[in-house]
């Protein structure tokens, strides 16, 4: 085998593999992204009757729009992870490592190297994104939703533009990051930056609107959002910065500070021969303090995740343990997941509601919502009138075509357990999610595995740090 790698071909490989294997890996990654988005869409579908349907209806609808909308956001998260993982290969860290220095000495042209790097990275990103996009569409066909072609090109462009913006921003930051670790932080920061930019420039209301997205030109309507103008400006500016900065820093040999070779108990100073002023250049520092910070942060994050997951599980167990007559109360408050739409709009389906525990002497007023027991079942209804020891209760919401007042009934005052005091829609959705298979895996299985393998996880991060 004769090795005839060009710089562009070298850039297409993010590990020690052949180019063909590298391309196959990217395609496999894209297929995984499509499958993951599709799976996540199903998870969201299990939360259909929750606050999510009101807050993010664009990902909850039974349509191609929702699966693709989800995909174009998922792909950003995964591409950022891909960038962070392969930071060494994808960005300009190699200039800092003087890899370009060697190649320039061997006759390579830095401008050609810059463009090769840029195009190779763009090619990889577009390849992954496009294949994943197609896979998502194909999978959505299985659901037999109505296929509307009109918003597909627009959605494709929206995702692509975000990725290109993140890519060029990450490339630019990598030219200024002096260490690989900092570069990785900056890469993560680019995703946050793009999110902030889109929010600030009102891009989200446009891309989450199915009607807007059927018209390609809406994206470029400056009256609706200036995101595309600003984004284009950033891409061009960053491209130019990358070109000139990479050329400029490739002219110099980058000296990495190596305090290890300094003699012990000695400071290195620069003394101005005219003024005699001293400037400390380097000092033998105690090794490993950065590593210890990383260790501590990693360990803390793991502990926090495990604790939160366990707390959620305990909370769910407590709520699920409530039975009529034996409601679990926390400091006099009974948490109760309301799985019906009969009290809308006051209480919506799957909201986590709170009821103040009351005794038999408490004066219940008309109009108050109560939690009561009947035939060994718990009900939530509104008091419409009361007599001595009897309460007339009714639901708030009757479906269309049904007879108003049909559910009105009389209950004994003794059957009342609590008085409605509030609700939390997000906690309700969280409990709903935790009760799904994915939720159980995430909140129960993952912490259990992490606890069991915490030693190995800790050692993995220590190894990673030393790389």
């Amino acid at each position: 085998m004769i090795y005839k790698n060009s710089y562009f071909k070298k850039e297409l490989r993010q590990a020690y593999t052949e180019n063909k294997i590298s391309t196959n890996r990217k395609i496999a990654f894209a297929v995984f992204l499509g499958l993951f988005s599709f799976a996540l869409y199903f998870v969201f579908q299990t939360l259909q009757e929750s606050v999510l349907s009101d807050v993010v209806p664009e990902i909850m609808q039974p349509s191609f729009f929702s699966t693709i909308y989800l995909y174009i956001h998922i792909v950003i998260a995964f591409i950022i992870s891909y960038f962070i993982l392969y930071y060494d290969y994808l960005f300009f860290a190699e200039i800092r490592k003087n890899s370009w220095y060697l190649l320039i000495q061997m006759g390579y042209n830095p401008v050609i190297m810059f463009f090769s790097k840029l195009f190779a990275l763009m090619y990889s990103v577009i390849l992954i994104y496009t294949v994943g996009f197609i896979v998502t569409i194909i999978l959505t066909f299985l659901l037999k939703y109505t296929f509307i072609l009109a918003y597909l090109p627009t959605l494709y462009l929206v995702g692509l533009a975000d990725l290109l913006l993140i890519t060029i921003l990450s490339m630019t930051f990598s030219l200024y990051a002096k260490t690989v670790l900092n570069g990785r932080y900056w890469t993560f920061f680019t995703a946050v930056l793009v999110f902030v930019l889109k929010t600030a420039l009102g891009q989200y209301p446009i891309i989450s609107n199915r009607v807007y997205m059927q018209n390609f030109s809406t994206l470029f309507n400056l009256q609706l959002s200036g995101y595309w103008l600003v984004g284009s400006g950033i891409i061009i500016t960053c491209g130019l910065i990358c070109l000139f900065r990479s050329r400029n820093i490739a002219k110099y040999y980058n000296l990495a500070p190596d305090p290890d070779i300094l003699p012990l108990d000695m400071e290195l100073v620069e003394i101005d021969s005219i003024t005699g002023k001293q400037k400390v250049i380097s000092i033998k520092v105690k090794k490993g303090w950065r590593g210890r910070i990383l260790d501590t942060v990693t360990t803390l994050l793991l502990i926090v995740f495990i604790c939160v997951a366990l707390a959620i599980n305990v909370f769910i167990i407590v709520i699920n343990a409530s039975t009529p007559g034996q409601e679990v109360s926390i400091r006099g408050v009974i948490p109760f997941v309301f799985s019906s739409s009969t009290m809308e709009p006051e209480i919506e389906i799957n909201d986590l509601t709170y009821f103040q525990k009351i005794d038999a002497q408490y004066q219940i007023e008309e109009g108050q919502i109560i939690l009561f027991e009947e035939n060994n079942l718990l009900y939530v209804e509104r008091v419409v009138s009361k007599t001595d020891n009897q309460l007339i209760v009714d639901i708030d919401y009757y479906p269309p075509m049904s007879q108003i007042g049909a559910m009105k009934k009389s209950i004994n005052r003794q059957a009342v357990h609590g008085l409605y005091s509030g609700r939390n829609r997000w906690l309700g959705a969280l409990i709903l999610f935790a009760n799904t298979i994915v939720g159980r895996i995430l909140f129960l299985l993952v912490p259990a595995v992490l606890l069991f393998y915490q030693g190995q996880v800790y050692r993995y991060f220590r190894k990673d740090k030393s790389i």
């Binding site: 790698n5 070779i261 620069e270």
Partner: protein, 321 residues
């Protein structure tokens, strides 16, 4: 090959900008009053008591760092005003991170030399055979990320040897070299010299200087205490004439002191070193004769091959006094 300038590096009274501050008090220049002349096609090994000092010297030579006083001329062209700018005629190797980890050794060397006009098939054959010749054939298909830092550095040196740069500065004094790699560096140094190029390397390893270098410079406390040929250093400063190996080396020491008055005898474990102190008997044969005549029959007796390590120790000792 075109005939270039003979004088490759000329340093006259060069002093560094950097100073050492000992315990926050007294300061001294890291390098002071350095005078060094390096000619074309020479192989220099720079050694010293401080890794930092020798590293800094080579950084100044390669135009990577500025200097404060004196004059430094590279290939009779003078230094550029803008320090650290890459000079085409200087190939500086200051770390082993330059290689790409997504390639193997042979692949990387082919990639690095891709801009040469040589036919790729012939070039690959040549590089592969060269790797075998210098004793690194076993590494030729090893992925770069599996090499240790010393091996990576040697691969970088091979790439440099194939470049057009007239000076190759191999500045890794903190690295530790085994015999296989020393042999490889020595072979690469020969290859570099054959192309009329100059190699300047810094190391703490005396064997490396002995095997790979024609000239050496030694720095102690920021000052150059020796510059010249390796041969001259060995012959001038390694005073050990004979090494005797015997389990009773220490007990032999006192008795031999009387028979060899013009010599300095030092016993280390099972070895006895006989050093000349300006004695009239500088012939190892004479020493051997005297020992046998005195009735001692040691396990082995050998003529000291004159090593850089001994010469270096002697030189440092002499400068300490």
């Amino acid at each position: 090959m075109e005939h270039g300038p003979e004088n490759i590096v000329l340093m006259e009274n060069v002093s560094s900008v950097e100073h050492f501050l000992v315990n926050g008090g007294k300061s001294r220049r890291v390098l002071d009053d350095i005078n060094l002349v390096i000619n074309r096609a020479e192989k220099w090994g720079i050694k010293g008591t401080s890794v930092f000092e020798i590293k800094l010297l080579l950084e100044i030579i390669a135009n990577i760092r500025p200097y404060d006083k004196g004059k430094c001329v590279l290939i009779e062209r003078g230094m550029m005003r803008h320090k650290r700018v890459i000079l085409k005629h200087v190939f500086y190797i200051g770390s082993s991170d330059m290689l790409y980890n997504n390639m193997n050794v042979l692949e990387y060397l082919m990639f690095a030399t891709a801009k040469s006009k040589v036919n790729k098939v012939l070039l690959q054959e040549e590089i592969f055979e060269y790797l075998i010749e210098i004793g690194l054939g076993h590494l030729s298909l090893t992925p770069n990320h599996m090499l240790n830092r010393e091996e990576k550095a040697v691969i970088t040196l091979i790439a440099a040897a194939y470049s057009d740069s007239l000076i190759i500065v191999f500045n890794l004094p903190e690295y530790e070299w085994d015999e296989v790699l020393i042999k490889a560096v020595a072979e690469i140094a020969k290859f570099i010299r054959k192309q009329e190029k100059t190699l300047i390397l810094s190391t703490q390893n005396s064997l490396m200087i002995e095997k790979a270098c024609s000239h050496t410079a030694i720095i102690k406390d920021g000052r150059l205490i020796y510059s010249g040929s390796v041969e001259n250093l060995r012959m001038t400063y390694d005073k050990i004439e004979v090494i005797i190996r015997d389990r009773t080396a220490k007990s032999m020491l006192e008795k031999l002191n009387g028979i060899l008055p013009g010599y300095n005898l030092v016993a280390k474990e099972d070895r006895l070193f006989i050093r000349s102190e300006g004695s009239e008997f500088n012939e190892p044969g004479e020493i051997h004769k005297k020992i046998i005549e005195s009735g001692f029959i040691p396990d082995s007796i050998e003529i000291n091959p004159k090593t850089v390590e001994n010469a270096y120790e002697e030189l440092i000792l002499k400068n300490d006094l």
